[in-house]
Amino acid sequence: MNIIFIFLAVLAAIVVWWLSQQRITAKPWLETGPIGDTGASSLPAAKIGLGVFLAIVGSLFALLLSAYSMRTEMGEWRPAPVPKLLWLNTGMLIASSGALQWAQIAARRGKMDAVRASLFAGGAFALAFLTGQLMAWRLLDAAGYYLTDNPAAAFFYLITGVHGLHLLGGLVALGRTMDRAWRAVTAGELRLSVELCAIYWHFLLLVWLVFFSLLLLTDPIESDSGVVAFICRIL
């Protein structure tokens, strides 16, 4: 359960910081009169909404990873190999995230051509990542690690599946942004949507990197079992 607690501790820190901005030691009964600053953020509501949504999705993945790491300590744990293809997929997801970051910068500079090109590249790399993940499933399956037989493989299918579904959902939002980009609105109107896509992509990349490193740590071939056992015990 340590992963979820680390995650909740980070959230708690954010909440404490936010509360500290809200003058919670004020004595409202003495403060009759107008107050100009209500403590609301100057960020757009959509961005705050995405932030809250990422906290929820983060909690979902933290719990899945917690369950995974708890399960590794229990009986009959048989690790599954990590397909080498995942390195390539990781590269694709990094490229996808990078392209959207570039789109965000281009949108800020008002270069619509660059925005369109990099949105397209981001989407293409994301599709390549998803295809790669499906192929990794086939590889594991062909190597005899079925969903039902091996706990490590089952967790792998589950977590990559949930991650992939979230990326698919992101692709819907990206598709709508691209649709607007091609309908030649100005870069200024597009800036917020592109920014939200980029933030979501970076977040899913982070989730993937955490899960991938956890996989590598428990990989029976790659690593020394003493270290694995140690790290699993901490997590």
């Binding site: 009964w29 403060e31 209500t38 809250v52 039902t148």
Partner: protein, 589 residues
Amino acid sequence: MVDVGTVEVIPPAEVEDVELYHPKSWVTKYVFCQDAKVIAIQYSITAISIGLVALVLSWLIRLQLAFPDTFSFITPSNYYQFITMHGMIMVIYLLTALFLGGFGNYLIPLMVGARDMVFPYVNMLSYWVYLLAVLVLVASFFAPGGPTGAGWTLYPPQAILAGTPGQDWGIILMLASLILFIIGFTMGGLNYVVTVLQGRTRGMTMMRLPLTVWGIFTATILALLAFPALFVASVMMLLDRVLGTSFFMPAIVQAGEHLKYGGGSPILFQHLFWFFGHPEVYIVALPAFGIVSDLISTHARKNIFGYRMMVWALVAIAVLSFIVWGHHMYISGMNPPFGFFFATSTLVIAIPTAIKVYNWVLTLWRGDIHLTVPMLFALGFIVTFVNGGITGLFLGNVIVDVPLSATMFVVAHFHMVMGIAPILVVFGGIYHWYPKITGRMWNEKLGQFHFWVTFLGAYLIYFPMHYLGFIGVPRRYYELGGTAFVPPSAATLNVFITAAALIVGAAQMVFFFNMIWSLLKGKLAGSNPWRATTLEWQTPQTPPGHGNWGKELPIVYRWAYDYSVPGASQDFLPQNQPPAKHMTEAAPS
């Protein structure tokens, strides 16, 4: 009182006026509607309707317990299906949906001075996904094999094995319904949180919010972080059941046959379930705390005692509720230091909770108490919550919990603290805000009758149940049979409890009759019948129109509890009343 200058200092439009969605047809106005007030009523009606199903199920449970071997239509399988669905519906589909989807949707935009939720379209989707979840749940009653009978905690491995009622379809529909509910709730919850963060009107700081909003706000954050645990558990169990994975399923030999499962961990499910399950108690309790604070302050014509402490206590309870889930698992074989940790963290929650109770009592102290129907329910809540909370101190200790855990004592405890107490607040809240929602008052006499039958009746049901627990009457059992340690008097007491339960259940019809009668014939309420300070009572129209505020958003000048302010001309000062006017009125000196 600090003089903070004149009214003109307010910077103009701190909050941008949003462009509202305007319904064009009857369908978009009343069915697929994006107005939070309509969504609130849709949520409430759906939740209360499914809650009535759960009420009938509780009657059937009680009938079986009082008169075993009498009803041919209650088989052991049916009995388990009834208790499972009763628990699940009451906790999740009624209380969670009603407090957050119902009260949250109606009150948050009005109380913070917004025109609507920040993402109205997502808010509308939230209700329709919730309705779908309820329909899937109802469908399981008609599926082959009936609904699941795994108990509301759905513990594996038995929840998905042959021999448990509803193993074919019931459990699949149950898990699918939970997954839908959580998706729907997330859409709504996102709205409640972001509206409180960003939708507040000019001058409405967080510390000027009514405690109702604080309660719903903290409960929503809890729910958004805790429901993913139930989501993960439901998805994994669904995979175990449908695709044959072994996330929660150990190697099992059933009827001499090795099942295909192996290596999974049932304890993992318990951790995930209760990681959601304990915060769930506070998801229901925190909105109740908030609403009760407002009811007491309004109907005692006195400012809430210790507003800051009330806010801090809400936050403290929310934080603590994430580190106590283990107290539901004392009997699943726990390392003693863990048991010690969970017992300690559980008992520590008594401190912020006690702060709240003291502050309610101190708010009443020398107040001008009006025993209106909402006030009666609020007072009933305080008594019941303290009562249920005290038995919680018993059960929080490992050594006391172990012998009592499988007995009726636990049933009595959580029905007091998590069933009756929040339901009393639901009633209090409905009686309080109904005049705003419909523009008409309730019939006072019928309301009082409803209160006394419900309140006293609930004690007649659950107080004796504690004694049944003490003598060891087990919970979950279809019938006691020839259990040697249970005296025959237990059966007599069971008949008494059942009679009380039937009467209390039937008395709820008075509530519904009153609701419909008042809608048609009730006295016109006017905009502010309780002479309350909070913004929802200051709307230009009653019931509030589309967009809530007419042309201009209100400007807030004071906190939510200016009741009986010395020197003021009336005993309440609405939040949007400028200080200058009040100062001149109050400045003869």
